[in-house]
């Protein structure tokens, strides 16, 4: 009787008293979990090998940490500089540039940055390379001056003691950690080993720049070169840093009260600071390479100093970042918009010619008796079983100037030997070969849709008085549109990203944007630009897909009955 006493509002209960909805959810959960377990291998596979690389690509197209990682202090110093003033930046910028570049050159990272910036500022790559080679010369004069004052400056042990400070003094672990981080950012190496050296906090306070450069030097030598810093003198940048430090009146004052190891030598050097070579980094850098006198090179560093940049995307649409914001690239550097346009146009043309050639074939396939249509189907599929490379090469044999078609035409006398047709290494060759290669992707969906259209529709139309053409156009064709839609989407999307065929038969006028992407990925190694181009291509395809959905409706796409 309890079943009848059910309250009229309230949830419906299952026989054991739990709400029915809950029971249903529980019973469906098992099913869902089982389904999930079945697709899990594929899901994981797709996530790891497909989604993750795409996400990485998207990230690479905006990622720009290399500038601030390689030249951290320069980036900080240059932020105050107003490039529009058409003046060279101030001395601190060049000083920071010297120390950043010196460490980068020691770690052999400066050429990577040069390559990166060269995408935006042509010639900057060689500037970085020569600078890396000659940068040591700047520090050599200060090293010579110090050793001339006192040969103790040559000794690694002396330096080590000086920088370590008195045994009683507190070690400056913060500075060590800071320099570890600087090297990690620069080299991508964790740099976490213990190096048996910690700068003293007192000396680090008195000689900030020297302690900084020495610590970086010690870390790099110990971890990267596996050598003890105390066995030989530090690199030139440390001498330079000391010279800079000693020129600072504050430092001189601090030294006078300093009692730690090497205090006498320091005081002597400070006293002789007037005999030291001038600390003019602007002049020094320009002496290393006169291109440092060009503001645009420093501008490039300033413009691309951010951790993330739209620069690759701008580049991909023939734009560039300038001081006044975004502007078009010079005419002779514009290539990508033209390539995108060409890729789009040719893909549409290929799709259209696939419809034109594929429709009658699909019609015959769908209307022939099964045995004959199977044979024809094998002929359609045959190209599928042949290597893409072989098919494309076959077209090369067919179309080239000494190829089958030209030879035949000349032999027949239809063509003069001197005026053989140019059918390959241009757009025509790409369109012909790609239409052939992509044709099955049009025929198969068309065929499977046409198969589901009963012949009685055409008969009905004719019995109602329609001519063959009217019956086809008004009755048959509208019903085959889902097949055309499916085939077109397949062919168009395949065509727009096609690479091998345009590469082989496209020459210079018949190549696609994908060939350019491949060039940037494998030859120029401008991965950022390649990624940006790829992302734009992906976005274009998605946008077209969306438009297609709005106009035709994706429900109208059928890949089979």
């Amino acid at each position: 009787m309890s079943g009848h006493a059910e309250p009229e509002t309230g949830p419906i209960l299952a026989s054991d008293g739990t709400p029915l909805k809950k029971r249903l959810a529980r019973s469906l959960r098992m099913q869902k979990l089982r389904a999930l377990a079945l697709i899990a291998p594929l899901l994981i596979f797709v996530l790891v090998t497909f989604i993750a690389p795409i996400a990485d690509m998207l990230f690479r197209s905006v990622e720009n940490e290399i500038v601030s990682n390689t030249l951290p202090d320069t980036v900080a110093a240059v932020s105050d500089w107003d490039p529009k003033a058409q003046e060279l930046p101030s001395e601190p910028v060049y000083q920071a540039l010297y120390f950043d570049l010196f460490l980068a050159a020691e770690a052999k990272e400066h050429t990577k940055l040069g390559t990166r910036l060269n995408y935006e500022q042509v010639g900057i790559s060689s500037l970085f390379r020569t600078s890396g080679r000659k940068l040591d010369d700047i520090g050599k004069v200060y090293e010579k001056w110090l050793i001339g004052l006192n040969p103790a400056w040559k000794s690694g042990e002396f330096w080590n003691e000086l920088m370590r400070g008195a045994a009683s003094a507190a070690p400056d672990t913060d500075l060590l950690a800071e320099q570890r981080a600087r090297l990690t950012a620069l080299t991508d190496d964790p740099m976490q080993q213990d190096i048996g050296f910690v700068p003293g906090s007192e000396i680090a306070r008195i000689l900030p720049l020297t302690a900084r450069e020495y610590t970086a030097n010690a870390l790099f030598i110990a971890i990267d070169k596996n050598r003890d810093i105390s066995k030989r003198g530090p690199w030139e940048a440390v001498y330079t840093a000391l010279a800079v430090d000693l020129g600072d009146p504050e430092v001189q004052r601090a030294i006078s009260g300093y009692q730690g190891p090497g205090s006498d030598e320091l005081r002597a050097a400070a006293a002789a600071i007037d005999t030291a070579p001038p600390r003019d980094f602007t002049a020094a850098m320009i002496k290393v390479d006169k291109d440092w006198a060009k503001p645009e090179n420093i501008q490039a560093i300033k413009i691309y100093s951010g951790k993330y940049t739209a620069g690759y995307y701008l580049n991909a649409i023939d734009m560039q970042k300038t001081l006044d914001g975004v502007s078009e690239r010079p005419e002779n550097q514009q290539i990508y918009m033209m390539l995108f346009g060409r890729t789009l146009f040719m893909s549409l043309l290929i799709t259209f010619s696939c419809i034109l050639l594929g429709y009658p074939v699909a019609w015959i396939l769908a209307n022939l008796p099964l045995r004959t249509s199977n044979l024809l189907m094998i002929l359609v599929l045959l190209p599928f079983w042949t290597s893409l490379l072989v098919r494309t090469s076959a077209w090369k044999v067919m179309l080239q100037q000494q190829g089958v078609i030209n030879d035949t035409l000349v032999w027949l006398g239809l063509l003069d030997d001197a005026s053989r047709l140019i059918m390959i290494n241009n757009q025509f060759g790409t369109i012909v070969a790609m239409t052939h290669i992509l044709l099955p992707f049009m025929i198969l969906p068309l065929y499977s849709v046409m198969q589901t259209i009963p012949p009685s529709y055409l008969r009905a139309a004719k019995s109602l008085g329609a001519t063959n053409w009217t019956a086809f156009w008004r009755v048959y064709f509208p019903q085959s549109i889902p097949g055309i839609g499916a085939g077109s989407i397949l062919v168009f999307i395949l065509a727009i990203g096609y690479y091998i065929t345009p590469e082989i038969v496209g020459g210079t006028t018949g190549t696609f944007i994908s060939n350019r992407i491949a060039f940037h990925i494998s030859s120029s190694l401008n991965w950022g630009l390649g990624a940006a181009l790829g992302t734009i291509l992906l976005a274009a395809v998605l946008a077209l897909y969306w438009t297609y959905d709005k106009i035709v409706g994706i429900d109208n796409v059928k890949l089979g009955g």
Partner: protein, 364 residues
């Protein structure tokens, strides 16, 4: 317009083969009068649909001539024949609305919009589907689709309508209802109809004339009642309605009656149809409802047969018995469930007989 004497549709010595080896239609001659409802009835593969398709123009006759209103139409393409057609699966165009479907034959005839709309509205009204003009065929039930298909075949006012098993996909009740509607419509409009079916009940209830097809030939062309009651050969007798057959030899013929000696030696009365002389082997055919087990109702000197009741089926309005008669264990007898009806029990032995006119001696 055909005059009264001239048949509207004429098949003259029509033959059809698909592969050059087997004749699907063998020397067909058939006249269809104007305004007549003719049904082509027969088992599948009997050639009836092929005949229909030849008439519609979708198949060409290998030999012979088809005349429509006294004009040969062999060389006229289907769209110029002006024949309405209803297909087995309706063939309503799925991408058009109901009204567009109906308007299609008028559009291809270049009719102006106002006339088209008027005719479509009238045709929809005719099949009582006026509210459904804006729907798509997929949104209609089977019966509704059927009506639309019918309306579409009629909207351009053809003088001849062909229907290829149009009710095959409907359930029994709807089928019976549509049979009634189609016949009424055809008669009201006075159009000539050629209807193809393999369902004999449909053929019997709907037609003015039935052509029974078998093996590429017309076995009999007759009115429904004649076909049922007076089949001219063993095939028609067996194909139309339920039928009992007994084999034997003609003993004597006397005008409208003959005596047949069955294979077990017993003798019966029959009407000679396909037999000419004593000694002919024959198949006698008797409808289950014409068998009489009340001796009083038979002629005094009528021959009777001994029968043993094998099974009894209660079917509500009728009783059905399976008897063993003259070596035939599948002899069926039907009796109306009347107050005075005898209920025979299995195992009972009885005597049965019939009026000679009900029993037809056909070809063996």
């Amino acid at each position: 317009m055909a005059d009264g004497n001239q048949p509207f549709v004429q098949f003259k010595n029509v033959q059809k083969t698909y592969d050059g080896e087997i004749l699907v239609v063998k020397n067909l001659n058939l006249d269809i009068a104007n305004g007549e409802f003719l049904t082509m009835l027969g088992p599948s593969g009997s050639g009836k649909t092929t005949c229909l398709m030849m008439l519609a123009g979708f198949e060409t006759a290998t030999h012979g001539e088809i005349l429509l209103d006294s004009k040969p139409i062999n060389r006229i393409p289907p769209h110029k024949r002006g024949i309405g057609m209803v297909f087995q699966n309706y063939a309503l165009f799925p991408h058009m609305t109901v009204a567009e479907n109906l308007s299609f034959p008028l559009e291809v005839r270049k009719m102006n919009k106002a006339d088209r709309e008027a005719k479509v509205a009238r045709a929809l009204d005719m099949v009582k589907m006026s509210e459904f003009g804006g729907r798509r065929p997929a949104q209609l039930s089977g019966g509704q689709q059927q009506r639309i298909a019918l309306a579409r075949a009629l909207v351009f006012e053809p003088e001849l309508v062909l229907m290829d098993e149009p009710l095959g996909a409907l359930d029994k009740q709807l089928r019976e209802h549509m049979q009634f509607e189609i016949t009424n419509l055809a008669h009201d409009l006075g159009i000539t109809t050629v209807y193809v079916t393999h369902d004999q009940t449909e053929a019997l209830t709907m037609s003015d004339q039935i052509a029974v097809f078998n093996d590429g030939k017309i076995q009999q062309l007759a009115k429904p009642a004649d076909l049922y009651e007076r089949p001219e050969n063993a095939f028609v007798a067996q194909f139309i309605g339920e039928n009992n057959t007994l084999e034997g030899v003609v003993k004597s013929i006397d005008g409208e009656t003959c005596v047949v000696t069955l294979d077990d030696g017993s003798e019966i009365d029959a009407k000679p149809v396909n037999v000419s002389k004593p000694g002919d082997r024959t198949l006698v055919s008797i409808r289950p409802e014409r068998v009489e087990f009340n001796k009083d109702r038979l002629h005094a000197d009528a021959h009777t047969l001994k029968a043993k009741v094998k099974e009894f089926f209660y079917m509500g309005d009728i009783f059905r018995f399976r008897l063993s008669v003259a070596g035939n264990d599948e002899f069926i007898v039907k009796a109306r469930n009347a107050p005075d009806a005898v209920r025979l029990k299995p195992g009972e032995e009885i005597e049965i007989g019939w009026l000679p006119a009900d029993c037809r001696a056909l070809d063996a």
